[in-house]
Symmetry: D2
Subunit: 408 residues, 4 copies
Amino acid sequence: MFDFSLTPELAALRERTLAFVRDVVIPAEKDFPAYDVQSPEEIKAMADRLEVLRVQAREAGLFAPHVVKEWGGMGLNMREMAIVFEEAGHSLLGPLVLNCSAPDEGNMHLLEVVASEEQKERYLRPLVAGEIRSCFAMTEPAPGAGSDPALLKTYAKRERGGWVINGTKWYTSGADGAAFAICMALTDHDSASDESKQAVKRSQATMFLVDTTNPGFRIVRHVPSMDVNFFGGHCEVVFEDCFVTDDAVLGEVGKGFQYAQVRLAPARLTHCMRWLGVAQRSMEMAIHYANARESFGQRLGQHQMVGSMLADSAMEIHAARLMIWHAAWLLDNGEQARQETSMTKVYVAETVNRVVDRAVQICGASGISEDLPLSLFYRSVRAFRIYDGPSEVHRAVIAHRILKQYAE
Amino acid sequence: MFDFSLTPELAALRERTLAFVRDVVIPAEKDFPAYDVQSPEEIKAMADRLEVLRVQAREAGLFAPHVVKEWGGMGLNMREMAIVFEEAGHSLLGPLVLNCSAPDEGNMHLLEVVASEEQKERYLRPLVAGEIRSCFAMTEPAPGAGSDPALLKTYAKRERGGWVINGTKWYTSGADGAAFAICMALTDHDSASDESKQAVKRSQATMFLVDTTNPGFRIVRHVPSMDVNFFGGHCEVVFEDCFVTDDAVLGEVGKGFQYAQVRLAPARLTHCMRWLGVAQRSMEMAIHYANARESFGQRLGQHQMVGSMLADSAMEIHAARLMIWHAAWLLDNGEQARQETSMTKVYVAETVNRVVDRAVQICGASGISEDLPLSLFYRSVRAFRIYDGPSEVHRAVIAHRILKQYAE
Amino acid sequence: MFDFSLTPELAALRERTLAFVRDVVIPAEKDFPAYDVQSPEEIKAMADRLEVLRVQAREAGLFAPHVVKEWGGMGLNMREMAIVFEEAGHSLLGPLVLNCSAPDEGNMHLLEVVASEEQKERYLRPLVAGEIRSCFAMTEPAPGAGSDPALLKTYAKRERGGWVINGTKWYTSGADGAAFAICMALTDHDSASDESKQAVKRSQATMFLVDTTNPGFRIVRHVPSMDVNFFGGHCEVVFEDCFVTDDAVLGEVGKGFQYAQVRLAPARLTHCMRWLGVAQRSMEMAIHYANARESFGQRLGQHQMVGSMLADSAMEIHAARLMIWHAAWLLDNGEQARQETSMTKVYVAETVNRVVDRAVQICGASGISEDLPLSLFYRSVRAFRIYDGPSEVHRAVIAHRILKQYAE
Amino acid sequence: MFDFSLTPELAALRERTLAFVRDVVIPAEKDFPAYDVQSPEEIKAMADRLEVLRVQAREAGLFAPHVVKEWGGMGLNMREMAIVFEEAGHSLLGPLVLNCSAPDEGNMHLLEVVASEEQKERYLRPLVAGEIRSCFAMTEPAPGAGSDPALLKTYAKRERGGWVINGTKWYTSGADGAAFAICMALTDHDSASDESKQAVKRSQATMFLVDTTNPGFRIVRHVPSMDVNFFGGHCEVVFEDCFVTDDAVLGEVGKGFQYAQVRLAPARLTHCMRWLGVAQRSMEMAIHYANARESFGQRLGQHQMVGSMLADSAMEIHAARLMIWHAAWLLDNGEQARQETSMTKVYVAETVNRVVDRAVQICGASGISEDLPLSLFYRSVRAFRIYDGPSEVHRAVIAHRILKQYAE
């Protein structure tokens, strides 16, 4: 029967996470004015500063919450993640400290489900331990794969007893300083290994694990973006005659799009969880400001137009949280929940944007300054309405499913 | 741990309710072109036609779902009601047939909690059985009690060994043909009976059970309203030197406002449940229309602007339903849940209005015609943003609570 | 150079119209509880009551403002109409009294531009004089012509030295009691008269002037609709072997769609003018209510959430009015102004709906009652987002034009 | 009679401005990656680079458009400014190049109206010539003057035969590198010079012209802000025992708030004009992108959800432009037009934000990158909903005026 309680253990874990973020992470934010550093020295320095916090996270038993214990994580299910990730998300730095930030978090999940044992030992274990970082090279600049993955242009050719990848990616988040990339590339029937040839159709895609030390892998630039607080940047990356051997194939040849779904459905939801934390903190900042600041003879919050904004934010955050919890429960029950995760993604992304926008408005001149983190949040969350499928693409897909469901 | 499953019994009850509404209630809608009939003959005829359906509801085991079994109901808790009321709400006629429509449903709840055993036998039992109807006389025309209950003007004076009530009410829904009214009136300290005098402050209110046969009770008119489908009308009612004896006091003297909360918190939520059914059915009508109608070379639903409206409706209905379920769970757990029921009321009322509006738009000329029930729904649901506290009053209260909570 | 002044004459005419509506029309509204009467007796009685007011309008020099003087009107240009129609529109009855209501107003314009002198004498002159009424039979029930005129199914066959029309129309507004209909029907090349054969392509349409006394013309029913206040109803009409002679062709064979544009571009704008008056009056009602009603210790209007709604309405009405004026100026300068009239239609229709909705909300229980006309307005204006092309179709067309313009 | 034409001269000026911005300013944007430089060297370098462009602007006859010819400007009236400023505003750099950017533009206007001839020679002439820059020191950090100017804390004391100013300001835009500040400070009756003593009430304010070389003037920091592209930064500034002589008083003692209105009413509108250019350019970028990019088998713009966004932007920009033109016309006719400029400010600020937001969404990954200027626009325009009175304060004032107007 439906129920909205947390187990005592989970309630305690929430408190612990909240306390850790409040006492350790948020005070450290000032030491991380921007994550998107570019020189190797700065990247190293940032990693070192981060490691200081991560040591504390490990000590607090708050590290890699989403990974099974076998591979070094906390073994939380999606519902438990919903609780922990939201609290971690109060700070943009939080998920990074807890080693559950994008894109590593989604990559770990993908590796857990799809990778061979050897690949797991080589890539997953150090990733979970926080010893290395990774990136996911899928999005391409126009006219390549963006909202429409069918436009994929990067191509891996069967050659020299392995594969030669050529193509350009961008928004390969976290690429600079990453140890490896998961690269999505077209492969065709002829290039498939003998075993899988049967199942491969033309124009299918395959995922490859590519070490960033590979001479065929090159970072062109950090794409400057509104979502500035991303360690390792949003990079433009070129695969140029990038040769990899067969053991670089993640899972099976030709199943790239299928694996992308394996990664995206939960990744979409974990994104929601983290961003919801940003919304919650933004609203709380606005509340504190509205309680403190006076204008026109009363406290700011007593002005109904301010109160109305706060009430809307509270309602929408509440609805967003319940949608996340519900979708997490479905995933925990083995459902694919594509419709629900799509709906949740759109709703949460738009809610987060509205809530942060209202917080900026309430805080006025302070809101648009960078004295408060709201200004940074405002820019960062804007990307969320585009990442993982823009709202419009999701709406089209949601409508398509509804229409089809009732047509039957 | 949070969970969104229904028990098998509840899932079955949902199916049963849905089937009953689909097979019995909706086909009968055409026989009830309008409920707000005014002559005694028409009211009698309407009651007779309704009774035919109610017989079937009783046979289907779907009657008075919200009342404890002891008094003749199905004994559902709030979460179970959330399921049954939504399905019943697919038709404006549904809750009436199942005897869980406003205002009787809220009145039964109030009587169950507050009335004496004698009052229950006299008023509650026949109400649950569907033998009589009731009304709740609280709202007054300007400058009386509307959104702001403190403006209450109706006054009951201690006199002649009982009470003499004077005042004008309106929007006393269901009054015409009702057997009794629950009347909210100011009472003061001096007029309190000896026992309760101690606790009564000035300017407090008391609820009275007034038989509509009382010569001091008079229906002035049916207030014509957008919410036309209300059996017994939204009446303007006058209490003129209306004498009642002590046993007409519901609960204790001076506790009227307190009892109003007893009634309103769940009533606000059951309203949401029923209206959500209207939204769900409206969306489904729009889906069917969008699947069937063609324009500009494709099916209507394939036009993205139509799809976008459907996706928004699906998302918002989903969020609304989860908010209702959550608030119902809180109430089942003994919480007052004032903040959550307020948030749910605002969100659901506005969602229902948006969803019906989009359905009208999608169905175009058919939508604004009365060939589909959408036109009727459109008018009826408009009132929901005003009933039980307009959205603005709730937002102000929600904001006030938030600000206070964080100020501490 | 751009300028927003009115000539003194126009300013005076505005005042005169406003005064007439305030002093004569609005007080008479109570005598017209509904226009959509159905029996011949009631239609006659309604026409008689209307004539009493029209006599006063003629005396006040406020009759048929949009028609050239030659044919009995006031000879206003579009900008002058913008002023007069808005004031007339303060009452749904106003344009009817001034003989500038839909569909007659658009039909007069169409006849003025396209009809032969004989047709003008026969149809236009008595229409301008207010002696007869007319209707425009274009919209068809599914799967016929609605938003997409290309779906037109009604067909006129060249036969017996004239034309035989067959087809079903609905939303033929004003049909009951009208003297004639302008009927849009498909005609093909072979059925064209010899002269025009050259220019006619297959699947083109022609407009026919059909007397409602024609035995092939039949009113099936009044389609019940939210837009209730329409004299002559929104009728479903059947043309069944309806024979007309060649002089029933309006303009030339095969030019029906072209003439529809002649009618629609200004008709779209005059609709906006009239409805804007409804919005203005609704806002004013809300202002008066907000100034008079008290709640929670202050006047309603002092609550910021109420003030915010009023401010939004004032801003949007202001923007809407300027868009109408601008489009009217373009038309006066001989521009087709399709983009501007489309944009204005969408913006005004949606503004009017929002403004009336806010007025209902501010007036609360009075707003949803029919004690104020807001409830009637709320229903009536809903249709405006669908009439003359639903917002979605206009948006698609607007976007198409923009994209094309910049692609060049 | 109302008319929306431009004179041939103005149409030509518009073309000339548009061409200049397109050919000279926009290509130069890449050389101004950020204006908010902080070191004296960088400020000097930026000023030098700017001067190169300004030379071309002067040659093109496009310099200081808003200033009377007598003092070196082009002598445009408000309506002409509406045309020129919008075109200039296509680039954030445009108004700076044309020397009509905030805060200099508003300060020039204020000096023109209020300053003595000597003050004009000393401050206005070089400002118009582009030889110096200025700033306006009014806004204070909490708990000082923000939205509510009555909270003003900076105080000028009559002392030593002149005035000693003490106080902290922030968002003193353009302060770094400016030659002088106009400082708003409280002055009281006793401190007024003998002549004006009569008229001065307690708690009134006075404006002072303070050279930034004054040892009592100090820039504390550049407040980091979303509105990054501001030459001279948004500074926090301290006046510490800042002594000025009587000739530093701008206009009369005690008239500061009155002069603030002189500055704000047109400044509010010129802000709208410039920002509207940003919106127009953003929409055009989105159109070009939608015409070029393909996804899901068609051009992006053919997806209705994209088209719908473009249509909304086109409509709202159209409405916004008309509101600006109308308010400009009122000001040109000597009206104060407070209500109209307030409404225009709110509407334009919110429209600009929506339009830029939609452009970002349409351009997707490119939109949130800084490869297009949209990302910069997105951040910059956010401040516009707060500058010159946040939307909420304007709405409250607008509502107050409406209610009062109808109460009479």
